[in-house]
């Protein structure tokens, strides 16, 4: 059997010039250390079934999708040089000239077609083709207001990633962060690709350290607008800001438990900064640490059993791990003399943190047993506040490499570092959203299957 398969692979390689799939279908096993990216053609979308030379929305949709595939690190895209346009124009919406596309070196093809309804709403039909097997393997229809254009295209990008890797794509996620572009530090959100900036708070004070709830509906953060660093919750539409913790002293650095029922945070009401948890309704305040030195920045493990945190109990800030009840404290970081801002990967096996070496901050990752500390950024200003994407494959962080502080994302091995914020001001404290639930998506955007 194996001999037959090997012969089959060689046949395919000869035919298409350099494929290295592990199976005869279009698929990437992203758990393998080295996989070959899928070469995907993404021509401009059709409109009402026909190709239009300079249609802005056609270009925009294709551009968003191609960018999503590129950011994922799993695809190489062929976008729209002139000869792509020729093929698309010639073959029309409903046909695919597979051999023509393969000649460009593509293995997969995305074709889209949109129309504008009477109510000015969009109907977008997207298809994914396997050029090797010469068949369509994915087809979706989305319907929604023009303002949801990016969201609908991101959804299809994620469908592509899910289909071809078995893992959820990140294109529909967002990042919450702090920006002072308004003249005051406020909480903002931005799509993971740097678009769609939205301001959430208008307190004209100092906001800090936002943290996304696990259901993606609220953000916790600290603000000084009531004359003290208090903790607040706010809904994603920027409405309904409510105080969550208003003890004297610090109420900072919140982190939601994975089940969404508790918040861990730092309070200094009893003297020094220490770690506490409380239930979302404000009850059941529980003190976890009691040390003469300071403890701060708690971060739950994805199984909800442990909490990583920072402490200067040895005289300098290092990262520790304890059980969620405060017992069994063990030190995680031993290299360097300044380690802070831990974030636990949603996969559970890694912790990212900020480390200061020779005066500059960089992002590091370390196994949760304390081994294999690896540096992800270097020689690029100060890099701080790592935040994992919900699939654990990417990390958002702030960097001053371009002068001011901006938000960047990168793969969790440090590759593919790209800047998200280009609008000035100082931007920091990123917090990566959870995945948008199917229900939330459908509440806003109608989705059809098949095609």
């Amino acid at each position: 059997m194996r001999k037959v398969l090997i012969t089959f692979f060689i046949f395919i390689i000869n035919l298409t010039g350099g494929l290295a799939f592990g199976a005869s279908e279009l698929y990437i096993d992203i758990t393998k250390p080295h996989f070959k990216k899928i070469v995907t053609a993404v021509p401009d979308f059709y409109r009402d079934g026909s190709f239009r030379e300079d249609d802005n929305l056609s270009k925009k949709m294709a551009g968003i999708l191609a960018n999503d595939l590129k950011i994922s690190g799993l695809f190489e895209t062929i976008e729209n040089p002139l000869f792509l346009r020729e093929i698309v124009q010639r073959e029309g919406n409903n046909k695919v000239d597979f051999s023509q596309w393969r000649l460009l070196g593509a293995q997969a093809l995305v074709k889209g077609d949109y129309s504008v309804g009477e109510d000015k709403g969009l109907i977008i039909k997207c298809r994914l083709y396997d050029l090797l097997r010469e068949e369509q393997i994915l087809g979706k229809v989305y319907q929604g207001d023009q303002s949801l254009l990016r969201r609908m295209v991101h959804r299809f990008s994620d469908e592509i990633v899910l289909k071809l890797t078995g893992q959820e794509g990140m294109a529909r996620t967002k990042i919450a962060f702090i920006s002072d572009i308004s003249g005051h530090k406020e909480v903002y959100t931005i799509d993971y690709d740097g678009y769609n900036l939205k301001r959430l708070t208008r307190n004209r004070s100092i906001a800090l350290l936002p943290a996304w709830s696990p259901d993606g509906k609220r953000i916790a953060y600290t603000s000084y607008h009531a004359d003290n660093p208090d903790l607040y919750f706010i809904n994603l539409d920027g409405g309904h800001q409510v105080p969550a913790s208003t003890f004297p002293g610090l109420n900072i650095a919140p982190d939601w438990s994975p089940d969404g029922n508790r918040i861990a945070l730092t309070l200094s009401k009893d003297g020094n900064a220490q770690i506490y948890t409380f239930k979302i309704d404000g009850t059941a305040l529980c003190r976890l640490t009691s040390h003469l030195r300071s403890d701060w920045s708690p971060c739950w493990s994805p199984d909800g059993k442990k909490i990583a945190f920072s402490s200067d109990r040895t005289g300098v800030p290092q990262i520790y791990i304890m059980n969620k009840d405060g017992t069994n404290i063990g030190r995680l970081t031993h290299q360097g003399s300044y380690n802070d801002s831990a974030d636990w990967s949603p996969r559970g096996e890694l912790i990212a943190f900020t480390s200061r070496q020779e005066g500059l901050f960089d992002i590091w990752i370390i196994d949760t047993d304390g081994r294999n500390a690896r540096r992800l950024t270097s020689n690029s200003g100060n890099n701080e506040s790592p935040s994992f994407s919900p699939d654990g494959r990417y990390i958002a962080f702030s960097s001053t490499r371009a002068g001011r502080s901006d938000i960047y994302i990168m793969n969790s091995d440090g590759s593919n570092q790209r800047r998200l914020t280009f609008f000035g001001g100082n931007n920091y404290c990123p917090s990566w959203s959870p995945l948008e639930s199917q229900e939330d998506f459908e509440n806003n955007v109608q989705k059809g299957g098949g095609n």
Partner: protein, 192 residues
């Protein structure tokens, strides 16, 4: 003399008596037996206490308990008071240097002359360090200053603290000079 401050005064004397050597246990017992302390003796004690506090180590200072703040100071207008000097800190530390202790002693004298005054002590850091670390450090610097003032005899119910971390620098520069200016505790008084 407010009861609370008398208690703190005696507590300080008891706690430091063994390390300082200049206030003995028997003297404390004498004081305890008297119903009222004479003003002149009080002044002498105050001077001794001041001298003690200026000399003892940071660890000993941190070990002396003071009544905590009951609530944050909210909704008040604050005024700058030029006579209340800023104190400054070494990098990454909330330790009260000898100079800082001198300034705090002067500030305490001002409070004695303005008995009703409520004061907000703001603790600040330079921009180096993570945001979270600096929030904790600024909070410690403010509380450290408050502790010293209370130990000197100021009413704990009238002193409030707030930590600003690196968020409110007085000098936006990125030099050693700017950083040194920003590592401070700053005193504002509630407007009457």
């Amino acid at each position: 003399m407010v009861k609370g401050t008398k208690f703190v005064l005696l507590a300080v004397l008891v706690l430091v008596s063994f390390t300082s050597g200049c206030v003995t246990l028997s003297r404390y017992e004498d004081l305890q037996r008297e119903a009222e302390l004479k003003e002149s003796e009080l002044d002498k004690l105050r001077a001794e206490r001041q001298e003690l506090l200026a000399r003892i180590s940071e660890e000993e200072l941190e070990a002396l308990p003071v009544p905590p703040e009951a609530a944050a100071l909210r909704g008040k207008e604050l005024a700058e008071v030029p006579e209340l000097g800023d104190i400054h800190f070494e990098f990454d530390k909330s330790r009260l240097t000898p100079t800082a202790r001198e300034i705090l002693t002067k500030n305490a004298a001002w409070f004695k002359e303005h008995p009703g005054a409520e004061v907000l002590v703001g603790g600040h850091c330079d921009e180096r360090g993570t945001a979270e670390y600096n929030l904790a450090l600024g909070d410690r610097r403010a509380k450290s200053s408050r502790r010293y003032l209370v130990l000197l005899g100021c009413d704990p119910a009238q002193i409030f603290t707030i930590g600003y971390g690196e968020e409110r620098p007085v000098d936006p520069g990125h030099t050693e000079e700017a950083w040194a200016k920003n590592r401070r505790a700053h005193f504002r008084v509630v407007s009457p």
